[in-house]
Structure formats: C-alpha cells, structure tokens
Symmetry: C2
Subunit: 734 residues, 2 copies
C-alpha cells in the first residue's frame, strides 16, 4: 500500500469553503487507489493560527472521558456476557464464575514468554510454524501442570487465539478415531492419542473433490490373502489436499478412501488409520509422497498438506469399523444408523454462533476504541477536531456490529438451551424434527459467518488509513476467520437445505392445517389466520422489539408462501433470499426471548442492553439485509397518506437508538474484558495511546534494524548513477 | 486455514437422500469455520460403482468446449474493449492499434527473467523489496532501450501489475515538483528527476492527520537572516507516516509543512523540497529520522515510511513557490487560483474508472475459467458432475461482475469524452459547473472502488476452497487493491460532496425552474413535469435499457426531493443513500450512451454486448444496490393486482439474461487477452489445466525443499516422546 497523503494539483471551489485536491499516481492499474481527495477547511485565505493541543496526550484523556460517561455497572454487563454457555457449552455456571476461570487462565498464559505476540507481525511461514510448535509444546505442559479439563484447555486456546497444527489432532483426528474406530483399535491408540504420543490428521478433501465425498478417488482395496488394505492414489486429482497438519507435523492420519472389495466392488468412502511418518526420525513412510500446499489466506503457522499413496499396505485392523466392517475373508457388513452423534452437533452449533460473537467482539473493541481517540475534520467547541466516532456515518456503521457481537454471544447460549430441550425428541428418533433443526443450523451458519466477515471488514475500514497496518490487528483476524466463507462457497447447498425444510413445513401446513408447527417454522402460524390481521405500521413500532419481530415473521411467512406458489418458476436468487427471510425471523424471535430474560437485571443495565438488542432487530430490516425490500414488496410496509417514504421512520428510529447507545459504546467493549496482550492491537490499546503504540511497533520492523537499504548496491545505486550521468550529459530538456 | 474435509460424526436424515456430517474442531474461537457440512448423494446404501472419468484431462476438454460455444468474433469484442482511452487517456487511437501496442510491450516484458513471477508467493518483505528494485532498474533500462513514451511506460507498468516504489517518484514527486515548483527550481531538478538521477517521495500524511491537512503539525519556519527554512517535527503525532518510498528508497522528498513567517504567523500548509539521503552512500541526512512503518495490507514490496525532522535547514529556493511565495526578506505573497490542473483531473478520472474495470477483469477471468472446469455435486447426462458455473447461485454471482468490468472500462472512456467536451466551460471559470463535475467524480470514485473490492471478493469466494490458496491469485489482487476503500473511510466526505451538489441543483431548480440543468443533474428534469408521468412498470420493461435508466433517474429525482424536504431531520444514512441514488442514475445514463454506440458493431457482437450491459442496468436495482428499496418506497414499483411480489419480474428477467450470457462467458474473458504470465493464477490458466498448475506450484513451497520439519528437534520430538512415555506408564484410561 502506498502513502495516502500526496497531492499534485489544487482546484479551489470558491464559496464552497473547501479545497479540492486530486493527484494522478501510478499507471492506470494503480492510479485508482492512489487518487486522493482532500477537503481542508479554509481559515481566511488558507491561514490557520489555532494552537493545536497535544494530540498524543489527548488520546488518553478521550479514553478516560469515554469511560467516565458509561451509565451502567460494568461487572453486571460482563457477567451477562459470560453467562452460562457463553464461552463454551460446558456445564451451567454463573457468568461471574465463568469469567473468573477465564481470567485465571489468561493470567497464566500471558506470563509465558513463549506466548509473546510481538514477533508475529514480522516472521515468515517457517518461523511462524516453528513458533506454533513451541506454543503447542508449552500449552501441553501447562495443561498437565495445572490439570486443566478439556473445557479449560479449549478456553486457553480461545484466549491464545493462535492457529496451531495441534487443533486438527484434538478436534478432528481424536474424535474420528474414538467415534468410528473399533473397540480394539481405540484401546490400542487411545492413550497415545490423549497424551500426544502421536500427532494425527484427517485426510478427506482431494485436489478434485471437496463437497462431493461420493466422488473421492483414493482407493482402499482389501487383500484377503494378506489380510491388508492397499491404499492407492490412482490419479493426480485423487491427491489429498488442504489437509491440516499433514504437510510437516502429523505422524498418523485417518484417510477417507473408497473401499474396494475382493472382486472389485466399490462400496464407497470408508475410514482407515495410516502411519505417515517414522516415530524415530519423523521421515515419511515408503510409498507416501507428502508436503505443504503453499501459502493461503490466514493460518500462516498451519501446515495444510497434500499426500499421495502408492500401493501402501495397512493391516486389516486399521479400518475404522465401528459401523461398517469387512470380515477377514472379505465380506462387507452394512453400516448402522449412528444416533450417538447428536450431542456433538449440539457442541458445534453452540460454539459456531458463540465464536462468531467473540470474534466480532475483538474487532469492534479495536474499532470503537480507535474511533474514540482519533480526531479528524470538523472542530468541536473546544477547538479540538471531532472524535471520529461522533460522525453519524461512523457510529451508524460501528454500533450495529457491537450489538451483533452481543446477540451472537447470547444467541449461542440461547440456541443451546432451546435445542438441548428438544434433544430428547430426536433421541427418540423424530427425524423430521431433526431435519428441521439441521436446516435451521445451516441458516444460522450462513448468517453468523457472513455477518462476522462483513462486520470485521467494516470495522477495519472505519479505522481509516491506519487500519491497513498489520499493527491494527483486524486484518489478521479477518484473514484467519475468512475461511468461514467457504461455507458460503457452499451456500447454494446450505440455503437449499433451509428452503427445502421451509417448503416442506409449508406443504404440511396446507395439507394438514392443524398439525403442530415446529420451533423453527412457528412463523407459518401467521398464514393460518390469513392475511387479515397483518400488522399496521406506525412510527412508534420501531421502538418495540415485539413489533419488529412480528414483522420479520410475517415477511418469512409470505416469502415461503410466495416461493411455494411460484416453485415452478424459481429465479436464480430465490434460495438465498428465502433462506435469509426464514433465518432472520428465527434470529429475531430468539432475540425476543433474550430481551425478556433481561428483566432479571437492574433497570440501568437492562435498558442499556435492550437498546443494544433493539438496534439488531431494526438493523435486520435495513436494505443491506434485504428484509426491507421484502416488507415493501409484500406491502407489509405501506406509505401513509402523509408520507413520501415509508422507510423514513425506521431510519430515524435507528439514528435515535444509536445516539442513546453512543455514550456507552466504550463501556460495552470494556465488558468483553480483553487484555492488551490478548487483543494485540496498536489501535485497540485500552489506555487509548494509539500513536505511541504505532510508533513503538514500527521500530521493531526488521527493515529498521539497519540503516542500509536492501538491494541498494545491486539495483538502486547503479540506476541512480546512470540517471545522473545521462542528466548531466543531456543538454536540452526532454 | 485448515482442511475443509474432516468429519467426525454422521446423522442420517432418512428419506432426504442426503447424509449430513458435522464435526467439532478447534476451541470455540476456531470452531466456527472448522464446522463442515457435507451432503453426499447416496447411491443405494452408500455404494457407488460409477467409473469416474479422468478429471484432469476433463478440465482441458471443458475449456475447449466452452470456447467452441462462443457466439461472437473475439477480435471485435477485444477491439471494443481496447477502444480509445480504454487503457490510458492517451491520444485517440483505434482499439486494434491500442491492443497491438499493448501486445508488443507485453511480449518484451514476459521475456525478461527479472519479471518472472514464480517466486512472488514465497518471499518475505525484504526479498520482495529487493525484487521490486531490480524490476525498477530493468524497467528503466527497457524504457530507454525501446524509447517508450510515458504513456507506453505506464502501459508497461499496467501489464507488469507489480507494486514498485518508483510509482511514487513518477506519479507524485515529479508532478508536484513540475506543477508547483518555481521555474528556477524546476530547471535545477527536472533532468535529474526525469532520468531517475534522484528518487523522490511526497511527505504529507502524518501520524495524527490524514484528511484534515489544515491541522498538519510539521512546521517550516523562515529565517530571513540566513535565507533558510527550518523544517521541524514538534510532536510525536507530527511524524510523517505512510509515505510511499520514504522508508528505504527515496533520496529526496517534497514535504507539506505549515509555513511560519518571521514573527511567528502561521500561513498554513505549503510545500518544500528536502534532500533526505546522501547521493554518495544513501545514508540519512543529519536531523532526519526515518524508517519503514511495518507490514500492511498488500504492497509488501513498497517501503511506506515515517520521518521526523529535528530543526533541518533548507535553502530559500527549495520552497515550491509557483503559486504562493515568501520574499527573501520574509514577506508572504498570496497564492493565486490554479486552473492548469483540470487536465490532470481528467487523467485521474479516466484512469480511476478504467483501472477498476481492468482490475475486475483479472479477477473475473480467473473465477469464470475455474468455475468452467471445476465440476462438483450433481451429475449431468454424461455421468460427469455439473460444472460449477452451471449452478444458478454461481452464474448469478459471477456474470454481473463480468458485466461491471466491461462497463467500467467503457465508462472510463465515456467519462473522459463527456468531461473533455465540457473542459472549455470550466477553463472559462464556470466554477459551479466544475463543482458539479467534482461531486460526480466523488460519487464515481465511491462506486467503482466499492464495486471492485466487492467484486474481487465475490469472485474469490466462488472459487471454493482452492480460492484461499495464494496460487489462485485473487487474494493478492484484493489485498493490493483494498486500499481503495480508504476513500470509503472518507465516504462521509465524498458522499457529502455529492449530496451537497445535488441539493444545490435541486434548490436552483425550485428557485429558477427554467435554469438549464447540468449534465449530472439532468435527472432533476423529471421533477419539472411533476409526478404525473411516472413510469408504469411492466414485465417487458426489464428487457429495455432505456426503461430501467428512466426508473433510476426517477429514483434519484425523488430521493433528492425527499431529502431536500426533510433536510431538517436527516437520518444517519442519508448521505450514503442519496449519493448512491444520484451516482447510479448517472452511471445508468452513461451505460445508455455506450449501448447506443454499439450499433456500429455487427449484430452478433452488438447483441452479446447489449445483454452484458443490460445485466448491469438491472443489477443496479437489486437489493444489495439499495435501489429496489427506493423504487418500492417511492411507489415507482407497484404491485399489479395479480401479483404478490412486484420484484418477481425483475428477478426472472435477470435470470433470463444470465442464461443468454452463460455460453459466451469464457469468450468475454478471453477478449481481455491476459497472458498466463500476466494473470499469474493457477486457477485462471487459459488451457484449463488447473490441477496440474496447483500441483506444480505447491512443489515450489520452501517447506517442501527438504524432508526435515522445522522445529522438530526443539519442540515436536520432545513433545511426542514425553507423550509416549506417559502413555506407556499410564495404566487406566483417562
């Protein structure tokens, strides 16, 4: 990135009170973002005699003033955030006790030199990988030393927020082995796995296939004579690819391969345990070609790898045969239908939503703190420039992200509760219900990942030029989180699942109107009563959660009805649009439940949080959210006789709630209780001294450790000397 | 990033014909994007016996088939793209001749070993910087060797698409010196600058100030006794920051500093030429502290730097005094109003829009080619999986980006023409008109930068998992282009300018209805006739450019009117919303002009291009574009008695035009004529063999050059050994 500050030419727009400057930079390819507009308030004829205050000292003052303004008790809000299930889905505990355990673990971690983050910004992949291994080693030691539960270990990982190869061992290799391995195989490996005596990875994705597992090409052919399976990669596209920890770390792997029976019958993908590297010197086993797939977005420290198998033999017992098995003489035995896994899905669902919330929380803390101490542009009554956060275009972008982070954290808790409540029904085999929950999960996944990615980038852009510095911290967060969008690469699948379930419920409703509706299709009840009691919109209603939630349910109901009635002529965007409508209605009702719980809190805290959650509800309806279009299209929002624009009241209401929230913005972010070490952002330092921190970090840049210029002797010097030679020998101008 | 392929548990959704698998990975903080949904078509009971074809060979076949399908003459479309002003704003030339010169320069460049791109993905900042200097040196030699005009040199930079420190010398330092330096100063330095005898940078932005130049803190105090200026950085926040090429490269700089006269009067920011480094050994001059500001988004090879001045003296003649000057005895002489700069603005405006087009062109070429050869999911009649581009959710995302790239390229040309036509009026001092054009430029800047950033990311996500690999190529493009969003950091300023000009024109219209409207406010004419002849919407109209353009003009007119009538109660988002409405109306009318020019072409090519431009028009109205909300809110789009949803016809029309464009998608991207060398993307190779290319590039990863694992001895080995020791000594299970 280049300097944002150059200007070549000036055009005075008389009377506008501004100076417009623009410059041409770079070849056209680069020029677009080199162009720079600048508006300078003209004092008289460009003369300014104001004495500027000490901007650096001012940053700390501004942060202190912001904290003095906070209207609520910080600990109450903090305990609300850390309430049960808010960080992990562990056993129910009070928010206070959750936070204390969180705090205790962090105190241990931040004392460890190995976990120091100051070098992260300057090291290449190899160094980053070595650092990750060192962190992994120390983390394992600490877990033993303090006898952390697996939940506490997970909390430690969350606090560290580093990408480590070990993650794949703990959360992919281990559960797959335990979940699908035979008792004998589990007995043989369990202790080695638990104590990290081996390092595992999980090999499924291939160069040619991600989504469609049925088309994986790797084969495992059973040889009855020797009672072995022969693993083989028949084609280039069958190369295992993207496999975390395979590149350099793993000693063992579980491979997804098509099981081929004697006689050549292919019975589809099954799992096999394979040793990849020697436990003596870590060298690759014969017949295995493996390596790292190269740099990618985020996760520099992770060795995503590739592997090819050339007729590699493994013993019969290494097939993971808990559900499907092959007898020693080569007969295939059908898989059963595993119900055990539901609890696992619960865990995922909770952490998926909650994690999105905590990730947004980090980004928005940085953005709100910086926007509070950064002053630019218009002057306030004290002759100071205005705090950036005071500009409508800034708080209008940032506050909704803050509210979403709170909602996702609470929603994760809420979702677990409601889904846990219904776990019984599913254990009893109510698969229709399971299907509906699964569809809702797809919708939630799309919503939280999309919102978190957008939210992080919006927060980063609100940082202005300094937001592009790696020291700002959000850029790294974005790159590491971005892969969540891969699910979006699959949105047509996920949205399709949501839509399928919604249409199914609708058709049931039409065929059997008095059939009870599931938790996630309750909005369809509105179609029973028919169109008669559609809501009537008034300016007031935008201040009421209930009214907005009702509107969003109506939108979902009418969208599903319209889609069902036009299912013979779908448009290209229908799945995306419909899935959004259904999921946003669900989220809105969940927010309603969260808000009603707030009455346990004292009035001050309750009302502050209610505003925060109200902002989410109204924001769900703004254009970017597509809901507004639907409300207007379905005439749920109609122009009153005296109105030119029926959306004005909503926009005014959002501005009003933003202005109520503004004084508490810093307080809401402080309630996350991120330490400076954990947040690791020059623009998010809690004392507000962002300029000192930027300066300090820039001094660590390797290029600044010497006064010499790399490449000077080879390139720069000869070029300059040749230029001077020609210049002195040239008589006329060019 | 981690493997996308793991699965721990399976829940069979009976009767759904799908298997749903999910896995818990990582601590909650990581789990969200580790969660993986997979739907596998069940063949019988998980049994698949289909013989898969050679996927690798298929990629090349698919690409060839796509090319065979193209309905138009490639050269005609190519020449349309390269038409005059389409690449730079040089003298008018035919598209054919533009392309030939383009092609000739590229042939020269891609032969140069120094310009090889294969190492780019693996080197750190220092190596990247050294590589950039070597490229700069060779590029300078080639320019002399082939006697390239400055326009051809710019074209060469565009083809190279590398970030080079030299850019700041050519496009910031040089024009500022020439534009604002006195004749004596220019005479003294011109040849040195032109022949790269010195390397310049431009120091304006400070740690504490970007936008508000009036508040820059660096001072230049005139000392009449010695006829010198004394440059000084009084505070930490006055440190010059983000300055391109300052960190390690520049020998000279032009500094923006507050001019302080004898007696202490501060007359605001002025420009001063300062030597920063010795021409002997490149060491920093006394009193100057400078260095690199550290890593940032994109531009790894660029040394954005900081600098502080400790009472640094420079001679009187080094003030850039073409407009404002100080006499030797210290009297200040007022600046005049420089008109010379308009041509420069023309150049910027053209390259700004055109560049956005060519950047999108690179990204969409990669995405469409990969989506054409990538097969996944459903099976087609040949038993092959479906090409990803055939999925509605894919072409619905990609084709509008393709059309925008064409529009921005043509729009750059169009804008230059129309603005050039009116240059005279402005030269004659019609500043109101200049203000209006300036406002429109602000709007265009916001629109093209926003659309290009979004378009690049949308294209990247359409690549699925492989899109996260650096070898895909779009990630780097995105990071390098992203800073264009800094303008968006300034959107409240830019949008504000657009809105101010629009309201001004509206008020003129109200006060003096028969006053002629400027080019950029012609949409306001609709308010003259009053609401009576509002358009009536029919399904047909979505096939007509003119009708859609008319709608968008109506939307702009009513938005401005409504904003004017409610100016006393603006909502937080009004500037953003209104600016969009006005700019999109302008863009639409420009597209109309482009389309009417197409009749010069033969019917085949004309109709293909018309569809492409039609898609842009209709896309301007989709939800993400906010226009649909306005159309509905202002009742420009009303529900026909027989409709439940007035937006259905539009959605259907967009799907229809997408289906017409689909067979030509690869053809439209081939017309950009990017060579594989210039595109530098494993997923965008023109022969379609993406898997071979991914494999080839992964082998170059430094981690794969040895079989050893970095950090094995220090961390991994001891951890594994300790784990095995504990495992063997543990009796019971944990």
């Amino acid at each position: 990135m280049k300097d944002f500050g150059q200007a070549t030419e000036t055009v005075q727009l008389e009377g506008d009170g501004v100076t417009f400057q623009a410059r041409a930079v770079g070849p056209p390819a680069a020029a677009v973002w080199e162009l720079w507009f600048r508006f300078t308030l003209k004092v008289g004829n460009g003369t300014s005699t104001t004495m500027a205050p000490d901007l650096n000292a001012q940053t700390a003052k501004d942060m202190q003033e912001a904290r003095d303004k906070v209207s609520f008790d910080l600990q109450t809000i903090r305990d609300h955030l850390f309430g049960e299930h808010s960080v992990t889905n562990g056993a129910a505990r009070s928010g206070r006790r959750n936070w204390e355990s969180f705090e205790q673990i962090e105190r241990i971690l931040r004392k460890e030199p190995v976990f120091d983050k100051s070098s992260r910004d300057f090291i290449g992949r190899v160094e980053a990988y070595k650092r990750a291994l060192a962190i992994t080693k120390r983390l394992t030691e600490l877990q033993r030393l303090h006898q952390w539960t697996s939940e506490q270990a997970a909390q430690a990982m969350l606090i560290l927020s580093e990408t480590l190869p070990i993650t794949l061992h703990d959360f992919a290799f281990e559960p797959v082995l335990l979940g699908q391995g035979s008792t004998d195989l589990v007995d043989e490996y369990w202790k080695l796995v638990a104590h990290k005596g081996i390092q595992g990875c999980y090999l499924q994705t291939e160069l040619g296939h991600g989504t469609n597992v049925a088309r994986l090409e790797t084969t495992a052919t059973y040889i009855p004579e020797t009672e072995e399976f022969e693993l083989h990669s028949p084609t280039l596209t069958s190369t295992k690819w993207w496999i975390g920890a395979l590149g350099k770390t793993a000693t063992h792997g579980i491979v997804q391969a098509k099981l081929v029976l004697p006689g050549g019958k292919d019975v589809g993908p099954h799992l096999f345990l394979v040793q990849l590297r020697s436990l003596e010197d870590h060298s690759l086993y014969p017949g295995i070609t493996a390596g790292d797939i190269g740099p990618k977005a985020g996760g520099a420290a992770l060795d995503n790898g590739f592997a090819r198998f050339d007729h590699v033999r493994i013993p019969w017992k290494n097939m993971l045969s808990k559900f499907a098995t092959v007898t020693q003489d080569g007969r295939y035995i059908q898989p059963q239908n595993p119900k055990h896994s539901f609890a696992g899905m619960m865990y995922i669902r909770a952490s998926m939503v909650t994690t999105a919330g905590w990730t947004l929380a980090r980004g928005i803390t940085i953005a709100i703190r910086y926007a509070t101490v950064r002053r630019q542009g218009e002057h306030d009554d004290r002759g100071l420039e205005r705090q950036v956060i005071q500009y409508p275009s800034t708080y209008y972008r940032l506050l909704p992200i803050l509210s979403r982070s709170y909602v996702f954290i609470a929603l994760g808790r809420q979702t677990t509760k409601s889904f846990t409540a219904s776990a019984e029904r599913i254990k009893q085999g109510d698969l229709g219900y399971l299907a509906e929950i699964h569809a809702m999960l797809c919708g939630l996944k799309v919503l939280v990942s999309t919102e978190t990615i957008n939210g992080l980038e919006t927060a980063r852009r609100a940082l202005g030029g300094h937001g592009y510095s790696i020291f700002a911290g959000i850029g790294r967060m974005y790159a590491d989180y971005l892969p969540a969008a891969t699910f979006e690469g699959d949105n047509f699948v996920l949205d399709g699942q949501v839509v399928r379930a919604a249409l199914k419920s609708y058709n049931f409703l039409v065929s059997t109107p008095d059939r009870p509706l599931g938790l996630h299709s309750s909005y369809l009840r509105l179609l029973r009563a028919g169109m008669l009691n559609r809501p009537v919109i008034s300016a007031m209603m935008w201040q009421e959660h209930a009214a907005i939630i009702h509107l969003l349910e109506w939108r979902a109901a009418l969208s599903v009805q319209s889609a069902a009635q036009n299912s013979d002529h779908p448009d290209a965007g229908i799945n995306y649009r419909l899935s959004k409508a259904v999921t946003e209605a669900f989220v809105a009702t969940q927010v309603g439940a969260i808000v009603s719980d707030l009455n346990q809190l004292s009035p001050n805290e309750a009302s502050a949080l209610k505003d925060l959650y109200l902002l989410v509800c109204s924001y769900l309806i703004l254009p970017r959210k597509a809901a507004l279009v639907d409300l207007l299209a379905f005439s749920l929002l109609q122009r009153a006789p005296d109105q030119t624009d029926p959306t004005r009241d909503l926009r005014a209401a959002i501005n009003a709630v933003c202005l109520r929230l503004l004084p508490n913005a810093v307080g809401f972010t402080d309630a996350f209780t991120f330490s400076d070490w954990s947040l690791d952002s020059a623009l998010g330092v809690s004392n507000g001294r962002v300029y000192e921190e930027l300066w300090k970090r820039a001094q660590l840049e390797p290029l600044n450790q010497t006064n010499t210029t790399p490449g000077y002797e080879e390139s720069l010097k000869p070029m300059l000397e040749e230029g001077r030679r020609i210049a002195s020998s040239t008589k006329s101008r060019l």
